[in-house]
Amino acid sequence: MKKLTNDLMNGYIDNELNQSEIDLVNKIITENPDQLKQLKAHQFVDQGLKKLDVDKAPSNLTQIVMEKISNSISVKNQKPYFLYGVLSVFGIGILSSIIYLALLIPSDKTESLHSRPLFDKVSLFFGNVSSSMNMVFESSNVITIGLALTFVLIIGFLFMLSYQKQVVEKLNSFGH
């Protein structure tokens, strides 16, 4: 006596059988009550699963998600003020140093600066800056100050890296 296979039963409830296969299923269940029982159970599973309840999302889900998204955007748009601060301080320091060194130009050369063409003036300016820098860096105090500034720069850089890492971690925590 023929039996219903799993494929036949699954095909039957999914309406995937052709006419000859449907006829075969009907013949088997007519001749064999046990097979009818099997098919009924299979149909019960199918119909029962269609009645599965959906767990509703909490009513305040939209609000929670929107808050998370807003926080994520504000973190993304947050400017690295610390980085800007450090860079600004060192930028101002470097500019001030250059201007100060330029002002150290000897007076006789300053006079000639006004009477020469622009190219010569520029060349003279940078030449003076260079020679003044040489003068300045010959001093041990300046080297000490330079070393201190370098140290501060390195510390600032480490702070900047740490800050950036924190921002990235915060962003990732929203993403996961």
Binding site: K37, K40, A41, F44, G48, L49, P58, L61, I69
Partner: protein, 150 residues
């Protein structure tokens, strides 16, 4: 899938956020819903992994056998009717099997879309669906629940 309401809510929120942040990467090759389901599924897996549950066991190949009979007596004694029994047994299916059932029957997704969400072949998706049904059918027969149907 997570078997915990709080974890599920957390995963759902994170999935929305991920989808929002990844909207640029959605290339409209698949339906938006399929893309979002996939994000939700992967987020849930991440939550599971972070909870250090036995994810490898749960996500094992479909060739692996699962045995619902170990939960049968307890669930049968706790259920008032066949439907309740059936729903509780679905919860005991391996994660991927339960997901296929849920996506197919509750979300009315096609097997093709389900295979895209779960990252498995269409054939394997169909096999999972059929195996889940077959297992549930055997349990119903064991308790003569099929008589309640027709």
């Amino acid at each position: 899938m997570l078997k915990n309401e709080m974890d599920a809510e957390e995963a759902l929120q994170d999935a929305f956020l991920k989808a929002y942040n990844s909207l640029n990467s959605f290339r409209q090759e698949a339906k938006f819903s399929t893309w979002f389901y996939k994000i939700t599924y992967n987020t849930a897996l991440t939550v599971l992994a972070s909870k250090k549950r036995k994810i490898e066991k749960e996500m094992s190949s479909i060739e692996d056998h699962f045995d619902l009979s170990e939960h049968d007596s307890k669930i049968y004694s706790e259920s008032n009717n066949a439907n309740e029994y059936l729903l509780k047994m679905v919860d005991k299916l391996p994660i991927r099997h339960a997901l296929v059932i849920i996506l197919f029957y509750i979300d009315n997704m096609s097997l093709n879309d389900i295979s895209l969400v779960l990252g498995i072949s269409l054939v394997n998706t169909k096999v999972i669906l059929h195996r889940s049904r077959n297992s549930l059918r055997e349990l119903l027969l064991k308790h003569n629940y099929q008589e309640e149907l027709i």
